[in-house]
């Protein structure tokens, strides 16, 4: 009796998941359908909007000559390096800010200030200081994500249940132990969300970086295509960035389950 009830529940959950997945798929289908109607129906010039077929053809061509994967790899590498630097520095910085009022008072104003500087406005300076080599691109991505990430990490770490920290104190935990054994593990799920958000922004700044001074990468590919009116290549580039974004998001969601399986989740998410 009880078992059959559990199975029923599981079936229901599985069914709901299937419905949700097909809805997500539907959304993509609708957009592609609209795209097909617009292009194959001849409603827009193919200079402005290439047909899906043209874009796929272009993707296959670039796959065959290897340029597609090279661009993807170059761009992904830049995003990863710039973003990882920002994580490596923002993580301890944000954690320290969350628990030391003095440190927070020391760095907060400059971070708040820098956060509002548009990264695009810093591009000339990075070019001047670092030239057009790879480090300049890492720098742009770093600048674009770091200041936000510090504040997000600080926010997440400050949100740790005060009672849990008090419990640890009365159990004899020292200051460093509280960081390591309580604040860090308790903030992990929130940190994963912060990481997921900022790596998305990193892609935005990557395109900024590659549009200014690069000779490879997806952003460069898109920019160069504009010159030759190769809208099919532009769309191919956009689709690749979107797909990489989807995959990244999925990886971070799975990682979040992996590092914090203890979380109580709402709505079975």
């Amino acid at each position: 009796m009880k078992n059959s009830k559990i199975i029923k529940c599981q079936n229901k959950a599985a069914k709901r998941l299937r419905v949700e997945q097909s809805l997500s798929l539907c959304c993509f289908m609708l957009i592609i359908l609209a795209w097909c109607v617009l292009t194959f129906g001849g409603m827009v010039s193919e200079i402005f909007l290439p047909s899906p077929l043209q874009v796929i053809q272009r993707l296959i061509e670039m796959h065959l000559d290897g340029s597609l994967w090279l661009s993807c790899w170059e761009s992904t590498k830049r995003v990863m390096v710039g973003w990882i630097w920002s994580v490596v520095i923002a993580l301890p910085c944000g954690m320290l800010m969350a628990s030391s009022r003095k440190f927070s008072a020391f760095v907060q104003p400059i971070i708040e200030f820098a956060r509002y500087l548009p990264v695009v406005a810093l591009v000339p300076l990075t070019l001047l200081y670092m030239g057009i080599d790879e480090s300049q691109k890492y720098m742009i991505i770093f600048l674009g994500t770091f200041f936000q990430l510090v504040l997000m990490v600080c926010d997440t770490a400050s949100g740790v249940d005060k009672n849990m920290i008090n419990a640890a104190k009365t159990l004899g935990a020292g200051k460093f132990q509280i960081y390591k054994e309580v604040i860090f593990p308790a903030s992990l799920p929130g940190l994963m969300d912060d990481f997921r958000m900022t790596i998305g922004w990193a892609w935005t700044y990557l395109v900024v970086a590659e549009m200014v001074a690069a000779n490879n990468g997806l952003g460069y590919m898109i920019l160069r295509s504009q010159r030759y009116l190769a809208t099919d290549t532009i769309f191919a580039g956009l689709i690749m960035i979107g797909l990489i974004g989807l995959v990244t998001d999925w990886i971070f969601r799975s990682l979040s389950y992996l590092v914090a399986p203890w979380q109580e989740r709402l709505k079975g998410k």
Binding site: N163, T170, G172, E181, P185, A186, W262
Partner: protein, 258 residues
Amino acid sequence: MKLEVKDLTKIYHSQNGDVTAIDHVNLQVEESEFVMIVGPSGCGKTTLINMIGGLDEATSGQVILDGKEIEGPGPDRGMVFQGYSLFPWLTVLKNVEFGMKMRKVPAEERTRKAMEYIKLVGLEGFENALPKQLSGGMKQRVAIARTLANEPEMLLMDEPFGALDAQTRVVMQELLAKISRETRTTILFITHDIDEAVLLGDRIYVMSRRPGTIREVITSSLPAERNHNCFVLPQFLETKKKIMDMLWQESQDAALDR
């Protein structure tokens, strides 16, 4: 004397003036004694126990444990909170081991001792469960085991059963009474529940409303073994009525103030 609180006062400074939360509180707890503090909500009970635990700083006065004035929180005063505050990423066993791990007790001894206390609170078989899989009563059992396993000089409990349903609460009260008898741990327990105070306490401090002061101390006349049968004993009802009258007077005064 195990614990002595001398003239403890807490004044909160705010823009709208100073608020006295606790006003010259004096109390004593003997070795192995089970002492209750009962008072109306908002009388500063939690502030008081947090100051004893070292989590909150007193404006003036002293807290003396084993003849030494306390400075900040420490493993000598184990605290149990209303909100359980378990570490959700650790299993029951790891939660109970936490304090010993912080004090660098060898892993083997840690596990052995933790298992002992898990058994004491009746959670055998749940060592590897995560807190999210446990009910409220079970979570509080883990919290008690976690604090006891650290072998504190005394236990400070801040309305630990406040969030539990009535039946579970009685079960937990009996369990705590049993632990107190068996382990002879010194316990200072704060509650607003008069029944709980009368059932568990060897002595009961009754607090007034804000600013919190000690109004009276009552020594319990209940038999040593406390269980749900005590609820209908004449001594129980007598003490309960005495405290009710005091607290009723307090709320009466409070109503007239406004």
